[in-house]
Symmetry: C2
Subunit: 411 residues, 2 copies
Amino acid sequence: MAMYVYKFGGTSVGTVERIKAVAEKVKAAHDKGDQLVVVLSAMSGETNRLIDLAVQIQKTPVSREMDVLLSTGEQVTVALLSMALQELGCPACSYTGGQVRIETDSVHTKARIKSIDDVKIRADLNAGKVVVVAGFQGVDVSGNITTLGRGGSDTSAVALAAALKADECHIYTDVDGVYTTDPRIEPKARRLDKITFEEMLEMASLGSKVLQIRSVEFAGKYNVALRVLSSFSEGRGTLITYEESEVEQALISGIAFNKDEAKLTITGVPDIPGAAFKILGPVADANIEIDMIIQNVADDATTDFTFTVHRNDFVKAREILTNVCNDLGARAVTTDDSIVKVSIVGVGMRSHAGIASKMFEVLAKEAINIRMIATSEIKISVVIDEKYLELAVRALHKAFELDKEPKQVGA
Amino acid sequence: MAMYVYKFGGTSVGTVERIKAVAEKVKAAHDKGDQLVVVLSAMSGETNRLIDLAVQIQKTPVSREMDVLLSTGEQVTVALLSMALQELGCPACSYTGGQVRIETDSVHTKARIKSIDDVKIRADLNAGKVVVVAGFQGVDVSGNITTLGRGGSDTSAVALAAALKADECHIYTDVDGVYTTDPRIEPKARRLDKITFEEMLEMASLGSKVLQIRSVEFAGKYNVALRVLSSFSEGRGTLITYEESEVEQALISGIAFNKDEAKLTITGVPDIPGAAFKILGPVADANIEIDMIIQNVADDATTDFTFTVHRNDFVKAREILTNVCNDLGARAVTTDDSIVKVSIVGVGMRSHAGIASKMFEVLAKEAINIRMIATSEIKISVVIDEKYLELAVRALHKAFELDKEPKQVGA
């Protein structure tokens, strides 16, 4: 008897008919004798409907109340799926995050899971029930409702799989796996059978949007086997694995991109110890996540300091930086929010030199100017002008032969 | 400094604009220094929208899941009102029933409140906040979400007023008070300044629909001063009082009616001890509420037994009664679901003979056949054919001079 956590996103439970289809899928697995915990998002459109209501009342809604509001979306779907399962004769029981209970910190709208009480769920599973849990939500130590941020249902699913030591965590979505890049940009994009956690982490954080980054981190940390599948078709999807040797032997596995970033530079920063902290401390204090950071070589006694943030945080970050600029006696703040980050990702690049130079060569041939570069062991990212996105992705996809089936291990 | 519990129904919070209007009303009272707990229903239409979703999935949705589903409606409105208040600079905090916590029994969709923890609410009130509580809902001892049934938000408000020993509980609705009868049936219906709890109890239970019956019972039991007012206009509304002497000196205060009942008769019941229990026990076990009961005089060794139930429970009650009929060896079950109950209510009738005969005379003059009669100290009810409803109400309203202002006490 295996135990699985299944997670279905908003599109998969977007209508009554789709909820019934999910119930059929879950019942089929339950009939085979598997123990199942099902984590759901809100019906697609519902979260936006609720946000629309809120912003009609407050331009920036109070975050505690926003969480009270938004958490209703998942509460609706878990009730409906539990009904649908019972209608099929499959015993089921729904839980909100607070009922489970999934305890988080108190950072409303961006909370992090601290602990999960598995007593009720285990009792239900042992009684032969399917347990249906509202994703995206929890409660803090005082019982205030919290949410994990957009895509947080993936995190809920992985955290539950970790707490319950489930055999696999299946993320059902509207794509049938992880692709070499976004097929809407490059129609020759190809589904990967397997991908390593590290690669997936880089792909997700760079905007591949198949999984929320925190869920992948979580899965890696707690050794949760994660599989991305389609809600609407059969197929094995893409397994996210820990074993590099199991993965297809390609130099790089995929090309990710992120259109949601903005770049900020503070120039003429006095080159003294602690300058970086004085710049980034206030940004971090404002709960703004920073992605790329580069500090240019000082040409006099000053340095230039550049970083990227999510575009939603751009205005706030610029405001903070302007104050910092005055405090530090730096020269100026320059910004650009029409940039895009393109990255090539692959564990294969570890053992191969020249990947970076090949990437830069491909971009140079297309006359694409590189504005920032950042590298890790398995990833090279460049920031370029937004308008070059499609051109860059297609050129790199072709140059690294991602449209061709790789050699299989042991084949 | 006075403490009030305000309750706003679904129509009063039916749109973003109305929620903002409620916030203005609440803020004005808060600015005067009053401590306020606000109880809300779901936005009008929302509960029906959720029920529609559920019945598309299950003809008779599992009641535990129905409660999980329906309780989201109020959770949305409390979050939105709390935002609206804070937008106006009025500190506020929302709570679900479970968060308060309002503990109920485990009878899903018809739960009864057992206890209310006032610690969080008192702390917030003392901190100068308006406390916004989701009506209609609670949790049972195991933390399962429960609902109190339609109109349960009134009960929540009164129970909170009792627990907090509030000065008054204001029920804001789309009518500006309690009327002598439904103005849609009799345009000459007149608003009452005061009405006794007992009368209100009879009026509510008989279908006046201004307040849910259980809330009035609760208010009476815990001496909560209840006032019915309009959300949309100014005015003092109708105060529900304990003191008969304070009330207008009319023979009767109002005419109530109920179109939601059905009548069931079991004939030829062997006239032995325990027969009534054998008939009504199974009905009560099925959680069906019984309203009127009459047992006709036995003409042989058998009796006829008639009672009324809500039309929603009619089919179920008929099924149960058919089984009971066989078990008891009774003759037959006859039913009628096109009846209506009309009642005259008034503490004044206690000290006046002849009210009943006057009522029957008025109906006889209009050639309306009376099918059942039931009386209490302050109420006389008759069951008549549905088609005579308007005729009966208008004739009685006129005969008892309800369209005229009564003499004021001490005037």
